[in-house]
Symmetry: D2
Subunit: 137 residues, 4 copies
Amino acid sequence: MELQVENTMAAALGFELLELGEASARGRFPVEDRVRQPFGIVHGGAYAAMAETIVSAATHLAVMGNGELAMGQSNHTSFLRPVSAGFVHAEARVRHRGRTSWVWEVDFADDQGRLCALTRVTMAVRPAPPQSSTPST
Amino acid sequence: MELQVENTMAAALGFELLELGEASARGRFPVEDRVRQPFGIVHGGAYAAMAETIVSAATHLAVMGNGELAMGQSNHTSFLRPVSAGFVHAEARVRHRGRTSWVWEVDFADDQGRLCALTRVTMAVRPAPPQSSTPST
Amino acid sequence: MELQVENTMAAALGFELLELGEASARGRFPVEDRVRQPFGIVHGGAYAAMAETIVSAATHLAVMGNGELAMGQSNHTSFLRPVSAGFVHAEARVRHRGRTSWVWEVDFADDQGRLCALTRVTMAVRPAPPQSSTPST
Amino acid sequence: MELQVENTMAAALGFELLELGEASARGRFPVEDRVRQPFGIVHGGAYAAMAETIVSAATHLAVMGNGELAMGQSNHTSFLRPVSAGFVHAEARVRHRGRTSWVWEVDFADDQGRLCALTRVTMAVRPAPPQSSTPST
């Protein structure tokens, strides 16, 4: 099953989704101007967005077969070390798979493997609306 | 004093910075594909990125005259209501201005004024490195 | 309707619950050794515990009439200013009342009205198990 | 070097500090009324307080030899599974040791080893005031 990512924020920022499992997920993005803030380092929002992207996609793929959908509820990112070049690598692992919420932790590293940021993401899991796989308001 | 935002993530996502004061800040962005996730609603990372953008810029402008710089330390965003069209409006207010950290809270609303997301941002404030206004690693 | 608080953590720490409404809640505690850390200032966990106490109680009282119960899901507290004497005053206001989750923000002040800590609490709201008003695992 | 914990919140709640290293820390507490909320399960504030206790103590012991002190800046706890009996076991590991802030993650488990809560704690590290090892306002 493919997630449509063309014409989305993930595509606009150059995010690459490398693994979307139910227990772990991985992605990366190259450090280009579109993910930089004015001082030339990676924008804090890029880490938050990447974490949200891979965790949402992985959770959604895991629960959709049960007639459920997953929506982001909370994203808490701590910024530890600035990155100005190369790639940013994201590794997510699931910490909790409850009936109504999943919790993931995501580590971000630079090309030298140094920890750059941490994110905790909480996903709400809910029954999908009938005859649709898309969330309504 | 102008912040250079061309060729940054804020520009890539269509963010508009409307006010960058030392006690409050405002911005907005139109809901276009570049801030959407695959289901057509605003990507959670867009809220986090907008909060980080206006709060970082506002704090930086406030402290740079003292020979200090501001860097994002933590960003915690809660997603309350999906938005699929119109603008997303961000209003930030400072809650704490300490010697070494500032804390802001940001409310996001849709065009009808309904609360869509909340962010708390913690900025670290540090002495700027000599002969430079940009942060080093 | 009274919540039973004897023999609970709130009682052990000297918490006073002053208002438990569906839109706002208030409490306070005196600064005594049982809420101090080794340096004599209020323990960070005391703020988190007070926020959790008043928000959980207020949400629970609001939803139990609908056959629902409320359980804490997330508590994020930022510590802004140490307090070593007097009372700590907590004021909570609800920011979101969704079908499945409520989000509150809590401000803490000292006797001089200075902001000392901030908490965001997310409560999960779920159908109560049949023939019981207590949460099961 | 011993930390004085008599007459503190940690003592009032029955917290046991088992290890206070610079890379990891451990503690536990028995599930008694003084850490319960009205429904008989462990109060969310107890997890937050335990995390704050062991991480603050471990960081402080690690930096005090450098003439520095550590103060809690942020505590974000997610509640995953209710516990009503036995012990709650906390294991903390440091994720970042910067010059001005340390970041720790804490896992909580019940006696069966099931994950019950997660905390991320950010500690601010600052020069100690002259002729004193205690933080001033």
